[in-house]
């Protein structure tokens, strides 16, 4: 059996080594051409938010500003399907304010006419999720140059880099660098797309959404620079993706402290229980003559007759 298995193993190994060398040969004969998306893609810019770190908490004023940017700018195209109006309580709004936000929301909720049974729409209630701006993906494609604007509920968790990625993307629109076009003449941004080095393949269907300072007039008087708006909406999307973040941080801290104490106590109990066990090995039983001598010496040192 060992020979059969050894044979099978060798067959696998030989084929792998053939693959290895043919792979190397192809690599050296025709090295892979460099790609514009590899050379000009940039990692997200660092972004510090108050929700970062193990003790992070939301800055509710910032979340409200971010929500304002979402409702005045992003929500024209992007849905927030997993978030309900009632969840806005987490941002510090009162029940009355939430009721008003829901009923004033620009898109109404699909419903049924109670008299005729015909499909109709009604004003949103706090218990409703945010209504999507488009009825379905086909409508979204038709209105957006054949691209579907993704839902934003989980955006921060659904992209490598999280909130920093969102912030970088929103502030990263620019003209295509001349260097790129010189090196990769075929990589010119196609019409209808927009160059953004933070996007995986560099060309994004979304036009720059935050274009000028003061695009939004913040209720709390914070100057609405493009950078500020991008930061605020990124912070807001951290909240939409992880509304229980503060509870999680608090519970985690409590659980960690509890477990640390439990571990220390259990360790002390372990030492107490094993203290005897270790000693008894040394002093009992006819062991090797060498060890008997060692045991006698140990006992003599402690002044115990034995």
């Amino acid at each position: 059996m060992r020979f059969i298995l050894g044979f099978i193993g060798s067959v696998f190994a030989v084929i792998l080594l053939i693959s290895f060398f043919s792979n190397l040969a192809t690599y050296f004969q025709s090295p892979p051409a460099p790609l514009a998306a590899e050379e000009f893609h940039r990692e997200p810019k660092p972004l510090a938010l108050s929700s970062d770190g193990p003790f992070g908490k939301f800055d509710k004023r910032q979340l409200q500003r971010g929500f304002q940017v979402y409702s005045e700018v992003c929500s024209a195209c992007h849905s927030l399907k997993l978030v309900a109006f009632r969840d806005l309580k987490g941002l510090g709004y009162t029940d009355a304010e939430i009721k008003k936000i829901a009923s004033d929301w620009k898109t109404q909720v699909p419903s049924t006419n109670p008299d005729t049974g015909e499909p109709s729409t009604r004003k949103a209630l706090p218990s409703d999720n945010f209504p999507a701006p488009f009825a379905n993906d086909i409508a979204a494609r038709a209105a957006n140059n054949n691209a579907v604007p993704p839902d934003l509920s989980l955006m921060v968790k659904a992209r490598e880099g999280g909130a920093a990625y969102v912030y970088s993307l929103l502030t990263g629109f620019q003209n295509q660098p001349a260097e790129l076009l010189k090196k990769f003449p075929d990589a010119k941004t196609p019409p209808g797309l927009h160059y953004n080095p933070y996007f995986a393949n560099l060309n994004l269907a979304m036009p720059p959404p935050l274009t000028s300072n003061g695009q939004v007039t913040y209720a709390d008087g914070t100057p609405a620079t493009v950078d500020q708006m991008a930061k605020d909406v990124a912070a807001f999307l951290v909240w939409t993706a992880e509304p229980n973040l503060e509870a999680r941080h608090a519970a985690g801290t409590a659980a960690a402290i509890f477990l640390l104490f439990a571990t220390i106590l259990a360790y002390l109990a372990y030492q107490q229980i094993w203290h005897d066990a270790k000693r008894i090995v040394r002093v009992t039983g006819p062991l090797e003559p060498k060890n008997q001598a060692r045991t006698r010496r140990a006992k003599a040192k402690e002044g115990i007759a034995g």
Binding site: A13, I15, N23, R159, I304
Partner: protein
């Protein structure tokens, strides 16, 4: 069960005596994980991971049962039921879900340490072959359970992972494609696949629990192994499981669970993939389809076959991937060395650590996007994996000269821990400690 000096169960109350005469369940538990199970006294912390595996199986079953109460196994509702209902609206649903998600990862961390401990200390050798093989059965069941569990949130990686992994079967000629369609209940993962994956994901953990009982039963016949690999000779070599190993496993398990809790609460998505927060879309393939981290080494082996040599490369990859786990079942007969512990096998020890590095490299290659140099690295590492188990191990076990073994477990404890030479008993042997011989 195992040794003649194992303490018999003594009921402490009239009720327990009554129960013991009718249903000796407390007697069984006492003999399995209580004072009635003598364990070698020299176990190190690598022996704690069997106990921890039991803890994580329990965590997974408990969190999973509650999650299943809120989960909707429909292609339209699964993503929302996980990401809105459970994560936002169910009381502490976010905790259950993150504990379950990270519990799976930590279960695999524990199992991998447990398996590598077995590989190093020769735990698979006679008379524990069946313990090892049952352990491998548990591992295979865990892989199936974890894979199907990852499909349930119906995110992009769920969907495409299911597509790729069930696609393995289509590599087999003739029966492959019909088999794949039969397993999925369709031509691509859809409602039929999701419902059956949910059903099996709920079923298999209980099958695992059953095999765990067999695993422990088979272990208790010869008793636990130990770091020297020397057999237990007399009573001095052992300590009762309770209180000694409950205390030792207890504190180190709490320390490990602290690590699990830190990840679960403070970096819950670190071990996951962002794409699984995008709802499944059969029309958009993710740029890099990767399974969960615990499958990366096998994924690397699968992808390493790039040349059609007699058989298609894909079929070679699938065969090699299955073989890479199946060969573990033959390990007790591949490694012929009579010495169990790697500590006394100088040549084996070096190859063992080389294997650890090799598997880490395979894991890295399996998880990273494909590039020519990474593929080459993966191919070399995969070749070593097979050579290690199927060629090097039998040769080493035939030609290696092992170091002299200690005369007994007790002897090794005395030699190994001279620095701790303890004061002799001030109080004399305590109640509950081992009886003294001679």
């Amino acid at each position: 069960m195992s040794f003649s000096w194992a303490k018999p169960y003594e009921p402490k109350s009239a009720f327990m005596r009554w129960l013991d005469q009718r249903l000796p369940l407390p007697r069984m538990v006492y003999g399995a994980v209580g004072g009635g199970y003598p364990v070698p006294r020299n176990l190190n912390y690598w022996w704690n991971f069997g106990f921890l595996a039991g803890i994580f199986l329990t965590i997974q079953i408990l969190t999973g049962i509650v999650l299943a109460m809120h989960y909707a196994a429909t292609t339209d509702g699964a993503f929302t039921s996980v990401n809105q209902l459970i994560m936002r609206d169910v009381n502490a649903g976010w905790l259950l879900r993150y504990a379950h998600m990270n519990g799976a990862s930590f279960f695999f961390i524990v199992i991998y340490i447990h398996i590598f401990r077995g590989l190093y200390y020769g735990s698979y050798k006679a008379p524990r072959e069946l313990v090892w093989m049952l352990g491998m059965v548990i591992y295979l069941l865990m892989m199936a359970t974890a894979f199907m569990g990852y499909v349930l949130p119906w995110g992009q990686m769920s969907y495409w992972g299911a597509q790729v992994i069930t696609g393995f079967f289509s590599a087999f000629p003739l029966i492959g494609e019909p088999l794949r369609v039969w397993l999925l209940g369709g031509y691509a993962p859809d409602q039929a696949a999701l419902t059956r994956f949910f059903s099996l994901h709920y079923l298999l953990p209980f099958v695992i629990a059953g095999v765990v009982i067999l695993h422990i039963w088979a272990l208790h016949i010869p008793g636990s192994g130990n770091p020297t690999g020397v057999d237990v000779k007399d009573e001095r070599d052992t300590l009762p499981f309770h209180p000694f190993y409950t205390a030792k496993d207890g504190w180190s398990s709490l320390a490990f669970i602290l690590l699990y809790v830190l990840v679960t609460y403070f970096a819950p998505n670190y071990l996951g993939h962002p794409d699984n927060y995008i709802p499944a879309n059969p029309l958009a393939t993710p740029a890099h389809i990767v399974p969960e981290w615990y499958f990366w080494p096998f994924y690397a082996i699968l992808r390493s076959f790039t040349v059609d040599f007699i058989l298609p490369a894909k079929l070679w990859g699938v065969l090699a991937m299955f073989m890479s786990i199946l060969l573990m079942f033959f390990l007790p007969w591949i490694d012929r060395s009579p010495v169990r512990s790697g500590s006394y096998r100088p040549v084996f020890k070096r190859f063992f650590w080389l294997l650890v590095v090799d598997v880490v490299i395979l894991g890295y290659v399996g998880g990273a996007p494909i590039s020519p140099w990474r593929t080459a690295l993966g191919q070399a590492a995969a070749a070593y994996y097979f050579l290690h188990f199927l060629v090097i191990l039998p040769l080493v076990s035939a030609f290696e000269t092992p170091l002299p073994l200690p005369k007994s477990i007790t002897d090794s404890v005395l030699h190994g821990e001279e620095a701790e030479a303890a004061p002799a008993g001030q109080k004399g042997p305590r109640r509950g400690s081992v009886a003294t011989a001679g």
